[in-house]
């Protein structure tokens, strides 16, 4: 279907030519998909979570299968901001020039680490259209609970990073107390929220009585979590007025459309990139067809248009 629907959206100051983004950690740093299609056609990509200094991540095995999903315990392996920019900066700069927004995800084990990583990005990554703060990182000083586990803790992270950049800040939320934490983040100046991160789960090898992965718990993603994620986006949509990026189990244009109707301005494709590497542009096409079939001239008319 050739469509005249305007697909451009504004994710808190990140001007995307269409709503399709990619979920951090499921899209490498973009270049891995250039053998499959022209990544420049996407609205945005979000790079793998990156900290000021390199992180090793968790031992193997890091992935196991679940019904209609997977569970991962990568543990935010990353080379640190300097090496990240050295390795991928030119590619990402080129991607921006091709009209695809680059959102760099920022990781940290403490407030200081977030600030330090963001400062490095500010200095070294002119190609970034915006930053995504991953508040699900484990807090080293609190026994591994997520940095943004409570409204207060999330607000504290946000308050610390906000003054460090004028570029848009998206906050990547855990699937927990969404409405309250969203309000806290909006109050501290978040430009947009993306949700959801993986849902903590557990898979035990009943013969050995040990975890199937190297850690007792890991993160569930894929189609299994989609309906839960749509509900959480709707909760956030009712709670705040900053734009949202819907994430979780998107495998089709219909899945993406559900997020838009529930209140998302953009939609990230995650696990599906890994199993169907051409998923993102296909989903973009299907979403565009759906918008046309709804008789609107601008996709923005459909954001939050769920009727209940």
């Amino acid at each position: 279907m050739v469509s005249d629907v305007s697909m451009a959206v504004d994710l808190g100051g990140i001007k995307m030519k269409n709503p399709i983004n990619t979920a951090s950690g499921t899209f490498g740093n973009g270049w891995q998909f250039e053998g499959f299609y022209d990544v420049g056609q996407l609205g945005a990509i979000t790079t793998k979570g990156c900290a000021a200094e390199p992180w090793d991540g968790n031992p193997a095995p890091r992935m196991c299968e679940l019904p209609s999903g997977i569970m991962n315990s990568v543990g935010l392996q990353n080379p640190g901001v300097r090496e990240f920019v050295r390795s991928y900066g030119d590619y990402l700069q080129g991607l921006e020039e091709r009209g695809c927004r680059v959102i760099c995800q920022v990781a940290g084990h403490s407030i200081e680490e977030y600030v330090r990583a963001l400062e490095l990005f500010e200095e070294l990554a002119p190609f970034a259209s915006g930053f995504e703060i991953n508040i699900s990182c484990p807090n080293v000083s609190r026994g591994g609970a997520a940095m943004g586990a409570t409204p207060e803790a999330a607000a504290e992270v946000m308050a610390a990073v906000r003054p460090r950049t004028k570029r848009p800040i998206v906050v990547k939320m855990a699937p927990h107390d969404v409405a309250e934490i969203a309000r806290a983040l909006e109050a501290e100046g978040a430009d947009a929220l993306s949700l959801i991160n993986t849902i903590p789960g557990m898979a035990i090898d009943v013969r050995t009585r040990r975890s199937k992965l190297s850690r007792p718990t890991a993160g569930v993603s894929g189609p299994a979590i989609h309906a839960i994620a749509v509900r959480m986006v709707w909760e956030a949509h009712k709670a705040v007025s900053i734009p949202l990026c819907g994430i979780g189990g998107v495998t089709s244009g219909e899945d993406a459309a559900e997020f838009i109707l529930a209140g998302a301005t953009a939609v990230s494709v995650g696990t599906q990139n890994l199993v169907d590497p051409t998923a993102a542009p296909r989903i973009l096409g299907e979403l565009t067809d759906w918008a046309a079939s709804q008789g609107v001239s601008d996709i923005n008319e459909l954001i939050g248009a769920f009727e209940c």
Binding site: G28, W31, Q32, P54, P59, G69, I70, N72, V74
Partner: protein
């Protein structure tokens, strides 16, 4: 330097898919571009239809390619649901495959080489041995299996005609009774090697790597990990390095310099 990816998504058609042993199958897939692109030691990530609740592809090495016919030969063991469904794909059925994945063996010319394979580690080892033989090397091959009915690769190994072929079975039902590492020790005592290539169960490869290191011979090992993408996008296939930190099995491997791996 811009990073770049040469991994593609291709359709394939099953040309044939037959049991060649107990729970061991040989699948020939028609996928012309993939057949012309794959280098020994690389692998592919196959979508097996028939159960949408299993979303992940299955990674497989290949035993040979026929670029003229546009075909790729896989040898695989049925170990779970995915490989069971694969074994039920009839000739003529179709799906998609991601490839070529990974780095492949380093098969430059040189002295005598030793190829050691365990179970369904044989396909990439046979492919390596063939490439080494074509590069003009003498190549001895050790093939191990639990039992005779699960052995694959002997004919292909003998067809190389490039050196000795030793078969071991854990239960003594065929060839030498014992493990590939025992056969390897005997060969190391009799020949001078400058390269060992190996693929098989992790414990076996660790033993092979130790023996090679002890003998001062370079060793390349093809590793397996749970893989999600196969092309460097997810970091789920990490291999711990002796020097610390991790490398990616699907991009930096699956073939590693055995001396660099933290076994």
């Amino acid at each position: 330097m811009q990073p770049s990816s040469k991994v593609h998504l291709y359709d394939f058609e099953v040309a044939s898919n037959d049991a060649v042993g107990e729970k061991v199958y040989r699948l020939v897939m028609r996928s012309p571009e993939l057949a012309s692109e794959l280098r020994p030691g690389q692998f592919m990530n196959v979508a097996v239809p028939g159960d949408a609740s299993h979303i992940v592809r299955l990674p497989f090495s290949f035993a040979s390619t026929d670029p003229e016919a546009g075909t790729v030969e896989l040898i695989y063991a049925v170990v779970g649901e995915g490989t069971r469904r694969l074994s039920e794909m009839p000739a003529g059925s179709t799906s998609t495959v991601v490839g070529p994945c990974g780095n492949g063996w380093d098969v430059k010319p040189g002295g005598r080489a030793l190829a050691v394979a365990g179970g369904v580690g044989a396909p990439p080892v046979i492919a390596a041995a063939r490439a080494l033989a074509e590069a003009g090397r003498e190549v001895d091959v050790v093939l191990g299996a639990q039992t005779k009915s699960r052995l694959w690769g002997e004919d292909d190994a003998r067809a190389l005609g490039a050196g000795e072929v030793v078969v071991t079975t854990d239960d003594g039902s065929y060839g030498m009774r014992g493990f590939t590492t025992q056969a390897m020790e005997a060969l190391l005592a009799r020949h001078e090697y400058d390269l060992v290539v190996t693929c098989g169960p992790a414990v076996m490869m660790a033993g092979v790597a130790r023996l090679a290191e002890g003998a001062g011979v370079a060793c390349q090992a093809s590793l397996e990990r749970m893989m999600t993408c196969g092309f460097g996008a997810c970091s789920t296939c990490n291999v711990a390095m002796r020097a610390g930190g991790y490398k990616s099995c699907c991009m930096d491997g699956p073939v590693f310099d055995a001396s660099e791996v933290a076994w």
